[in-house]
């Protein structure tokens, strides 16, 4: 009976044992209010008893009302509630949003790959703009970090997409006849550009340096909600004399990005290229960087052509089934494909 060894008053000890609290472990998971109710003592006294018990059992702290056993652990219940209330970044194409469960998720790494010209950079720029949509319109109201390794980011296109996004918000206002001032924050296209932190990198060492620097940068800019890397592959497809080094570098990068996503609760989007893999006598299209890299991302979307239409295929997801959705790249950015196309196709 460990409780009997606690340095507390005899009356408290007696009350504990008669109420059923005979071991220290039973005290580690009860809240002070509950304890005071059971023992019919004041809450302060209950807190005192719990403090003594925790000191004895050697655990660092007992949180009030929190049933955590270890620091940093979370109950699945809390996680579910957090996930349900989290907002996704819309892709501006409702069909694609549907297969993604709402859009690009925060706290996760999403990899998007496809052939040149399919719209990877377009989607990257669209996400960098959409993350800035204020919460009044269902967005995150955050900022974006865009790491450009290929020089594909064209400011004129970003301004064009930002203008269309601002236009959409105005139309939404008019549709719902919203008069409240809070929703009237119509941004100028240039304002969207100011909220994109653009890094241009030209070598793989710069790429690694920037990704290592992101932790510090994001701690100073807490409103960054998405990190887009366009593309993650390019600098690693050159000759590496030491392939083991390449694998180590890629692995380190993947870990850093996953940690960033979890730590700062933001979305990490990695744009990847495709290459051909010789498999059982035929050539198959596959994402670059090899099989070990495929573990780096939580979600994977493959953009591909189907006849004359562009499709997004959700290839890997921890909670959603594989599905395909058409989308179009228009002057306004990524949008739904024309109405006569097939809708969402579930695999």
């Amino acid at each position: 009976m460990e409780v009997s060894t606690l340095p507390i008053s005899a009356s408290h000890r007696g009350k504990l044992i008669s109420s059923g609290y005979t071991s220290l472990s039973s005290l580690s998971s009860v809240s002070p209010s509950r304890l005071s109710q059971d023992l019919k003592i004041s809450e302060n006294e209950a807190v005192e008893i719990l403090k003594v018990a925790s000191r004895r059992s050697g655990s660092e702290k007992i949180e009030n009302g929190n049933h955590a056993i270890m620091n940093g652990a979370q109950t699945a219940w809390d996680m579910l509630r957090e996930e349900e209330s989290s907002v996704c970044i819309t892709t501006s194409c409702s069909d694609v949003d549907v297969i993604l469960g709402g859009g690009i998720r925060c706290k996760e790494v999403t990899e998007i790959g496809g052939v040149p010209g399919i719209g990877k950079t377009q989607l990257g720029i669209q996400l960098a703009v959409n993350v800035q949509i204020p919460s009044g319109y269902g967005g995150l109201g955050g900022k974006a970090i865009y790491i450009d390794t290929e020089g594909s980011f064209m400011v004129e296109r970003a301004l064009q997409i930002a203008e269309a996004c601002a236009q959409d918000m105005v139309e939404y206002d008019n549709l719902l006849r919203k008069d409240s001032q809070a929703c009237r924050v119509i941004k100028q296209p240039k304002a969207f550009l100011e909220n994109i932190f653009y890094f241009r990198i030209c070598t793989y060492t710069e790429q690694i340096a920037v990704i290592n620097y992101l932790e510090k940068f994001i701690s100073e800019h807490k409103d960054v909600k998405v990190v887009i890397v366009d593309s993650i592959t390019f600098h690693f497809r050159q000759d590496f004399e030491d392939m083991a080094l390449r694998t180590r570098l890629l692995g380190g990068m993947a870990l850093k990005l996953m940690k960033l996503a979890k730590q700062f609760k933001l979305a990490v989007v990695l744009l990847n290229q495709v290459t051909t893999k010789y498999n059982e006598g035929s050539f198959q299209l596959t994402l670059a960087l090899g099989d070990s890299w495929s573990h780096a991302s939580t979600n994977r979307i493959i953009l591909h052509w189907n006849g004359d239409e562009r499709y997004a295929y959700l290839d890997k997801s921890p909670s959603l089934r594989s599905a395909s959705a058409p989308y179009a790249v228009t002057g306004k950015g990524i949008r739904n494909a024309a109405p006569n196309c097939k809708r969402v196709k579930l695999m």
Partner: protein, 286 residues
């Protein structure tokens, strides 16, 4: 080099562009060839790639107010011979606009192979600022790789590796010095039966009545930012007095993929003054 130095914030609201010397073609490209990126022109021989390249070499010297870059150009060519006479003929049309002899601001270097190009690129660090070069044209990239690599997986991997090395270096200098980089590429025939990998705005492209696609494959397509396709068609325009069919060559240019341009195309002609876009009979740019 600190990571903070790699941040460009706030972003400029416009990318500098190089005019093609024709307002219709400029409109196709949203203002002209953009700086800081790599633009590729894919075409069959004899369509007009080199003609357009020569025009760009001269246009780069125009002042910025006229759409030029106010700078010299570098022409790296792997196909022989160098079209000096045509360049000279074209330069006569620019003599009035420029205070100096345009030919003095064009630097030419022949390329023997891909390795030769890789050896040459580090020298650009020194040459580009010294000679105030803001345009580099490589005509053509495909010729550098033809015939040098065998068709084994290992060799193809090595070739693909070289693509990324070259592209990486070109992008580095393009970013560092604000260059416009233009590469020309050739076409290869596409067999009807094979699974054609679709890259860009059309499932297949035709030139001179044959199905073609860009040379150098999928890896190389990842190494350029913008790809333009030029092609020509033979069109029957009627019969002449001896009932022979009269054919006319028509030339077109189209955007295959670009981060800032929609799918659009334009007809053009090659005149003495150079490559000019043309409007169709309905008065619209096609």
């Amino acid at each position: 080099m600190r990571p903070e130095d790699l941040l460009r914030h706030p972003l400029p609201t416009q990318t500098p562009k190089l005019t093609l010397g024709c307002s219709l073609l400029d409109r196709l490209l949203g203002g002209g060839i953009p700086c800081y990126t790599i633009t590729e022109i894919v075409a069959e021989s004899g369509t007009g790639k080199t003609q357009l390249s020569l025009q760009l070499l001269l246009a780069a010297q125009l002042p910025v107010s006229r759409g030029g870059l106010s700078a010299s150009s570098l022409y790296l060519h792997s196909e022989f011979p160098f079209p000096f006479r045509r360049l000279h003929q074209l330069s006569l049309f620019y003599k009035t606009d420029l205070p100096h002899d345009p030919l003095e601001r064009i630097f030419v270097q022949t390329l023997q192979s891909a390795d030769h190009l890789l050896d040459l690129l580090p020298r650009l660090d020194f040459l580009l600022p010294k000679l105030n070069i803001k345009l580099i044209i490589i005509d053509s990239v495909a010729a550098l790789f033809r015939g040098e690599f065998e068709n084994t997986p290992l060799e193809l991997k090595r070739r693909s590796s070289m693509f990324f090395k070259i592209s990486s270096k070109l992008r580095f200098y393009s970013h560092k010095f604000g260059l416009a980089v233009v590469l020309t590429n050739q076409v290869v025939d596409v067999m009807q039966s094979s699974d054609n990998l679709r890259i860009g705005n059309s499932a297949f492209f035709c030139s001179s009545g044959r199905r073609v696609c860009a040379a150098l494959g999928l890896s190389w397509a990842n190494c350029v930012n913008t790809r333009l396709f030029m092609w020509r068609e033979e069109e029957r325009v009627g019969e002449d007095c001896e009932s022979f069919e009269r054919m006319q060559t028509r030339r077109f240019i189209r955007v295959v993929f670009a981060p800032h341009l929609p799918d659009s195309s334009c007809e053009f002609v090659i005149r003495r003054e150079g490559v000019l876009g043309c409007i169709d009979d309905n008065g619209q740019r096609k």
